[in-house]
């Protein structure tokens, strides 16, 4: 079972990375979000226990690890902020360079 989970997370990560390495900037933005999802899942899997119960006070049985959950919750929130900001930047970039091709974005070269 674990190997399936790991495979799904690895595949999502690889797909996200692949998108970012491509030239289409819109797809790169979506790829970044896939990457975020994969990383969040990975962080969650870094929890120390195989939980049967949510991490609540007084829960009976093995609780899941609350610490990575708190971290991932923050990461999800920041991920939303990053996504929105990336999109705004994308709009400015596409408009500034008049292109959706990331190879055309070469303002640093000047």
């Amino acid at each position: 079972m674990e190997i399936l989970t790991a495979f799904a997370i690895g595949l999502t990560f690889a797909l996200g990375l692949f998108q970012i390495l491509r030239r289409n900037v819109i797809r790169a933005a979506i790829g970044l979000m896939l990457l975020t999802n994969a990383v969040n899942l990975f962080l969650l899997s870094a929890g120390a226990y195989t939980g049967k119960q949510a991490a609540y006070v007084g829960a009976v049985g093995i609780q899941s690890d609350a610490l990575p959950q708190a971290l991932v919750l923050t990461a999800v929130v920041i991920g939303l902020g990053v996504t929105a900001f990336v999109l705004a930047m994308l709009i400015v970039i596409v408009q500034r360079y008049k292109s959706c091709d990331s190879d055309e974005v070469r303002g640093l070269k000047r």
Partner: protein, 966 residues
């Protein structure tokens, strides 16, 4: 002994700097001329001088005033002051000469409206220098030490349009700050060995230091700091270049104060670090070479300031050499040398400034015969020069006598002793020649350039060099009140570690030092008579290679490397990412820092085990996550790709719920929905032609590029997969922190451990997170409104932004078609419903999944629905109360206030206070108006504000028109 008054002189001088900066305001600047400014501002250092003078009668032999403030008491760091006779001597010199220099600078810069800048810098420097000599612990010392380096940079580069000034300033900064870093490390080592950062502890642990195996390291590092600061060979080359500073600054920094910082430090540490062989050889040899180098090089120069700079280097070498000795007399020589040098050298610098000011040149070859037109300047210069040459009846004579007395005393092997004596005599003779040239060739004889005509400087300008000169004369003539001798004796005692007797009588009878003095003077006189030949001969000597060459080469090299590195930049962003990834891969394999998760020896690959109740659901969801992610890449239509991404995100949420992590899953669901909305809105912002082009770009893949990217992604995917597998397979593991949180959550009154971690244990992190999120919202708003418009050329007026335009009622939605009444009603219901759900979730969040963030996002989704249904204008019109920026501000303010309120009640920021119970409010059961609930409400407010900004900006229809018009 504790003395809070100690801080006042330092504060006073810094207050002066502030006053000087305030004089830069146009209103004051217009009213105050430079000279008046000088007079007014001189009151600050004068006040400090008087304050310091008050303490002198109280300073007995081993008396120390200390004062400290707690900084980080938990790790033993306090900012403190330490004030004894040695500090007092330096502090008095700093404030005395400082006062004169400020008055002088007012005259020097007469008519210059920008002088307030100079005064600010020099008073800042003065404050730092005072702090340095009064510092009571190593860190305070370091802070002020670097403070002097930085302010001296500003002073040297004062004439910033002059390239030489900039370069000289940079060189001085580079060398002294570099030495400062070595010093810091050395001081920290020392504090580590002693176990305390305070000087009073360090100064009583001499044996521990000398016996420590770190002693050589500490010594070398601290010496590096002191040698660079005090321009010792081979680091002396920055000082002549720093002469491009305005003369008042040179007179102050490079004679009396900054360059003495290293001397002060070594003298301060001598009782605990000194009296060892290493110490003796290091300081004596460095000092001796510096002394001779300075003396010889001074003769090569024809620029008066350069001559003075090198003669200062010579004198600094002498002082450093004195610290290295282990005899009583050498410390007498040290202290008298410091005082005498500060008095005559600052006077000479100021005189050179006058000459430069009145004639327009400092070149010895052009000057001469100024004595007739500038009699007072001449008199001052002659007296100061006599003191420098070490002739009676001036104070400098005593300095030279004590030096020579040290030179014949040493308990050294014969040969070394000889070198010591000989070099001291040579240095004495050369100093006489230097000072003779300075005085004679400037004021006597015929001018080298007949056009040079001087006229006497105003009295206000003369007073600055006159006072120290008169003081050298008076100190030499009248050994004066006991008080002074006692101060000097105590200072020398502090530097040597034992009692030192100091008498200021010039005449000590016929003895060997006097004989040596006569020899030195005779040689000097002969050399002076034949000075032209001597100078010509020395100038003909080959240039000695110094570190200067290395310095030049080093920076040329850095520049070349930087240029080469710039050429490597191709400017393609995704290839930068590619490079980083490949480098990361290389590092992983190079350092083998990545343990293989599947240890083939001890572990078999786990078989798929399908027990458990929800296993089929989990498999389904895993396929959903991976499959939709794949679809999101493969689908050509952007809109479908976004939907696929949304599906994948929901799958992730279900996986999270199965962890089980319900809080995270809830946030993931609402965030995923919001991301899809934002993506669609953003895509709408792009013109169709661009989207078309993006698709074409994606289609035009090079085969090789495709394979390359795929390969890199697959490798990283496998790495992530292995890491995840390793994490999952090693469950359950030991966790140091999680059980702690589980146990202590009960205290917070919360049931959800995750919620407790976020809102209570790590509340400040969460506050930061919310601030970051709010900045993202504000950033999008400003980015689109300002950055984007910059390129279209239409500048928005501030008032218009985000204001509801007040159009007539519109029944058309975002896409244009008429809004169905059903949807319109639904939208109206959804928003209040979202608010109710959000509030419930928030209030009961401590018992059930839910928190302020998801509450905020749920409400924002309701608002987003309005934007989609009614369009921008209508939404703005109807929801006029919705002011995103204000919401963000109120939210963050409320978060900070609730934390502060808890701090006032409980004594700790963001601690838990139940306000409901405290105020006796009737609340439903399970609802607690605790500080964490207030915090969650604050989070909700700022999230609503920030998300509204995002939707608002990305969904603005007119914005789209403006953006793409060009």
């Amino acid at each position: 002994m504790s003395e809070p008054l100690l801080i006042f002189p330092i504060i006073l001088v810094f207050a002066g700097a502030l006053a000087a900066a305030l004089c830069g305001t146009p209103a004051l600047n217009r009213r105050l001329s430079a000279s008046r400014l000088g007079w007014i501002l001189s009151l600050f250092p004068l006040g400090a001088f008087v304050l310091l003078l008050q303490t002198v009668p109280d300073l007995r032999a081993d008396m120390v005033f200390t004062w400290q403030v707690q900084w980080m008491p938990s790790i033993g760091l306090n900012a403190s002051l330490y004030f004894d006779s040695l500090s007092a001597l330096f502090a008095l010199l700093i404030t005395f000469i400082g006062t004169l220099v400020v008055i002088y600078a007012g005259q020097y810069f007469k008519g210059d409206k920008g002088t307030w800048r100079f005064f600010t810098y020099i008073l800042l420097f003065m404050g730092a220098m005072l702090g340095l000599v009064m510092a009571g612990d190593v860190l305070t010392l370091f802070v002020f030490w670097e403070g002097t380096s930085i302010t001296s940079f500003l002073l040297v580069a004062y004439k910033s349009k002059d390239e030489a000034a900039r370069k000289g300033a940079f060189k001085a900064l580079f060398i002294t700050v570099g030495g400062g870093i070595a010093l810091l490390v050395g001081l920290l080592f020392m504090a580590q060995v002693v176990g305390d950062t305070q000087f009073h502890a360090i100064l009583s642990s001499g044996e521990a230091l000398r016996d420590s195996r770190f002693y050589p390291i500490i010594l070398v590092l601290i010496a590096l700091g002191a040698f660079t600061k005090s321009a010792q060979f081979p680091f002396h080359f920055w000082l002549p270049d720093a002469m491009s500073a305005p003369t008042p600054a040179s007179a102050y920094l490079h004679s009396a104060t900054m360059v003495k910082a290293g001397i002060y430090l070594m003298a301060r540490l001598n009782p605990v670090m000194g009296l060892t062989e290493t110490w003796f050889w290091l300081l004596t040899v460095a000092g001796m070479i510096t002394m001779l180098t300075g003396a010889v090089l001074a003769l090569r120069k024809t620029d008066l300031k350069a001559v003075l700079a090198y003669s200062t280097i010579c004198q600094l070498g002498i002082l450093m050499m004195m610290i290295g000795q282990d005899m009583e007399i050498s410390f007498k020589a040290l202290i008298i040398g410091i005082l005498a040098h500060a008095l005559y050298k600052s006077a000479l610098f100021l005189v050179v400034g006058i000459v430069d000011h009145e004639t327009g040149t400092r070149d010895l070859r052009r000057l001469g015969g100024l004595g007739r037109s500038m009699p007072f300047t001449f008199a001052i210069c002659a007296l100061a020069g006599l003191s420098m040459a070490g002739l009676p009846p001036l104070f400098g004579f005593l300095a030279k006598e004590t030096l020579l007395a040290t030179a014949v005393h040493p308990t050294l092997p014969k040969v070394v002793g000889w070198v010591f004596t000989l070099s001291s005599v040579i240095a004495g003779a050369l100093t006489l020649v230097i000072s003779g040239r300075l005085v004679w060739d400037t004021f006597m004889g015929q001018p080298g350039d007949p056009d040079i005509r001087g006229h006497e400087a105003p009295p206000a300008m003369l007073i600055a060099p006159a006072l120290p000169t008169v003081l050298s004369l008076v100190l030499g003539q009248f050994p004066g009140p006991k008080q002074e001798a006692l101060l000097l004796a105590n200072a020398a005692g502090a530097a040597s570690g034992t009692e030192v007797k100091v008498s200021l009588a010039l005449w000590t009878g016929l003895n060997v030092p006097l004989l040596l003095s006569v020899i030195a003077v005779s040689i000097g006189t002969v050399l002076f008579i034949y000075r032209r030949k001597v100078v010509a001969w020395i100038q003909a000597l080959p240039v000695v290679i110094t570190l200067n060459a290395f310095f030049q080469t080093f920076f040329t090299g850095v520049d070349t490397l930087a240029k080469a590195a710039t050429r490597l930049q191709h400017g393609k962003l995704r290839f930068y990412l590619f490079t980083m990834l490949v480098a990361a891969l290389g590092l992983i394999f190079l350092f083998d820092g990545f343990p293989p998760p599947i240890n083939t020896a001890s572990m078999t690959i786990p078989a798929l085990s399908f027990e458990g109740e929800l296993i089929l659901l989990k498999i389904l969801i895993l396929f959903l996550v991976a499959g939709t992610a794949l679809a999101c890449v493969v689908l050509a239509n952007d809109f479908f790709a976004i939907l696929a991404f949304g599906g994948s995100g929901l799958g992730v949420a279900v996986l999270m719920a199965m962890e089980p992590a319900p809080d995270v899953a809830l946030v993931q669901i609402v965030v995923d929905i919001l991301v899809v909305i934002i993506l669609v809105l953003a895509l709408q912002q792009m013109p169709a032609s661009r989207l078309q082009q993006a698709q074409e770009v994606a289609a035009k893949h090079h085969k090789t590029g495709l394979w390359r990217d795929a390969l890199i992604s697959i490798v990283f995917g496998i790495i992530v997969m292995c890491m995840t597998l390793a994490a999952l397979l090693s469950r359950p593991r030991f966790s140091a922190v999680s059980p702690y949180y589980g146990e202590t959550t009960k205290i917070t009154g919360s049931k959800s451990i995750v919620g407790a971690i976020l809102a209570d244990f790590r509340a400040i992190d969460t506050l930061n997170e919310i601030v970051v999120f709010s900045i993202a919202g504000l950033g999008i708003y400003t980015l689109i409104w300002f950055a984007a418009r910059k390129f279209t050329g239409s500048e928005p007026k501030m008032g218009e932004i985000g204001e509801p335009p007040g159009r007539t009622f519109s029944t058309h939605g975002i896409g244009g078609p008429k809004i169905s009444p059903l949807i319109a009603i639904l939208a109206r219901v959804v928003l209040p419903l979202g608010m109710i759900i959000g509030m419930c979730e928030l209030l009961y969040g401590h018992y059930q999944p839910g928190d302020g963030f998801s509450a905020g996002v749920i409400i924002s989704i309701g608002i987003g629905f309005w934007y989609v249904v009614f369009g921008y204008h209508e939404t703005r019109r109807r929801l006029a109360w919705l002011r995103p920026t204000a919401l963000i501000g109120w939210g963050i303010l409320m978060a900070i206030l609730s934390g502060t309120a808890a701090m006032i009640i409980n004594g700790s920021f963001f601690s838990i206070v139940d306000f409901g119970k405290l105020l006796g409010l009737p609340l439903p059961s399970a609802v607690h108006l605790s500080s964490s609930v207030l915090f969650e409400i604050a989070i909700m407010l700022s999230v609503v504000g920030s998300v509204t900004h995002m939707i608002n900006t990305l969904g603005h229809p007119e914005e789209k028109d403006t953006l793409w018009r060009s």
